[in-house]
Symmetry: C3
Subunit: 208 residues, 3 copies
């Protein structure tokens, strides 16, 4: 009978896949909150918080496993780094949902839906890429596509800011400030997805 030397190693990939799968759930709630009546926003935000907690738990599981494992599939610090940047994506999407409720924001500009659509696609791609960490193969198309999406997110973001500051969504300074915050959290989330991709790229470079 064969002797499996490193049974624990494998599950790191599962944990990363699990962690990234919450990003898909999170981006779904983000999409939902843009469409529901204002009175139902708190319900969506509550679900988002639950997802964020579950994602947090997944991050801690990875950290605990790193700390207790004798052998890890790649550098301990890289596992740490990847886990925490995945967590950042979740936190920033959660923050956007939170602000929509906290600030009692009225109607959201259409461009915000475009931002969220990019984040949904980024979430899917990131979740799909995680299992490929095992072979370190076919990852370059993932990070190239994420970079492309991040550029697209940038364009949408700039367009939204221009419209916002040039009066297309009214001239009330406080309303503009509130909308700007939400738009910025979403842009920061897109940046965080790119940071995940850079992290994956640098791990692949190191391990190659």
């Amino acid at each position: 009978m064969g002797f499996r030397l490193t049974p624990q190693e494998n599950s790191f990939y599962d944990l990363f896949a699990k962690s990234a799968s919450y990003l898909i759930d999170g981006s779904r709630e983000l999409t939902t909150i843009l469409g529901v009546a204002h009175s139902e926003r708190e319900t969506v935000a509550a679900r988002m918080r639950e997802i964020e907690h579950a994602a947090d738990e997944a991050t801690h599981e990875i950290i605990r496993k790193v700390n207790s494992s004798f052998i890890t599939p790649f550098d301990r610090e890289d596992i740490h780094g990847l886990a925490s940047t995945l967590d950042d994506c979740m936190d920033l999407m959660d923050a956007a949902v939170d602000l929509i409720v906290l600030y009692r924001i009225g109607d959201l500009p259409a461009g915000v839906s475009d931002q969220v659509e990019v984040l949904s696609r980024m979430s899917e791609l990131t979740a799909e890429a995680m299992p490929r960490l095992r072979s370190m193969k076919d990852l370059s198309e993932y990070w190239i596509e994420i970079n492309r999406l991040e550029n697209q997110a940038d364009q949408i973001y700039r367009g939204l800011l221009a419209a916002l500051f040039n009066g297309e969504y009214g001239t009330d300074a406080i309303t503009i400030m509130k909308l700007k915050e939400v738009i910025e959290e979403l842009e920061a989330a897109a940046d965080a997805f790119e940071t995940v991709a850079h992290k994956v790229e640098s791990i692949a470079v190191k391990e190659s």
Copy 2:
């Protein structure tokens, strides 16, 4: 007579402890500026600047020692990284004090005191943890508590922003912008303390 092989190594811990002790001094001035008359704020800010300069000097002392030491207690880059994130905590608390004076801010919302209280506690915990880098023991309770405090800081921050944007501190957009800046610097300081804790955690993981 015994021969001390690594006399220089030890003092890295002392330098980190010294560097972190300035954070306690800094958070004390931050607490003070919230309570004094507006006319005395400049005096507090001047003391804060002195502490910030001393902290800066401590950071440079660490960097110089790294550059001139043959043996270091842990990775050179980690020493660099830890020194510079400790410096960030100081810079951000200093920035908040600076803005209060620069913007001639009127009364500060009560929630700001709550933010500062969390920062004071974070400063103490961080200063207490530094000497434990020597043994790398009992550090996990430090970073768990810092994470907890950072979550608390987040809650306070979100609450403050909601109150601010929903008109609880008036409806003057420029006043709201000014207060928001101060509140954000304090939140960034809390985040920086968490980054220090993450750094310590990753060093401990690496060295274990």
Copy 3:
């Protein structure tokens, strides 16, 4: 005849020098946009975009070379890190130019020229330092001077914010918000130059 073992190694320095040279070009356009008539701003922004694209291409060339080289002059991750922080400097200067056009900003405060002057000097120093990575000599004066300039940039930034929020450039909240964004991108660019210097410092420390 001698046998050159590592012909590829050398060109990393050339690539970094090339990448940094775009920062000089970029800071020149930034200086230009402050002086031209509003109607000509779009033309300057278009040139800036071209420079930004060329810089981006240089970054990718470095990454590709890292991925395909068997031997690299210093750590692969450090090459990655340095390339991407150089890219950040460019992106932030480009973002400032972009916002000036997008927000249809009127006259810019004089202090903005001071910010840009510091960035021009930082660009030159950074471009001059890159070839010295080869010998890892005489780099400390570079990073010390960048730190000094970053402190100067900080002072200018704080002064600008104070003037802005205390009504020196009018009391229209939306105008203040727009100007603040531009000023902040420029400050972030100065910070990014400091990050490059820190990166160079940490590489020098590691390799020494």
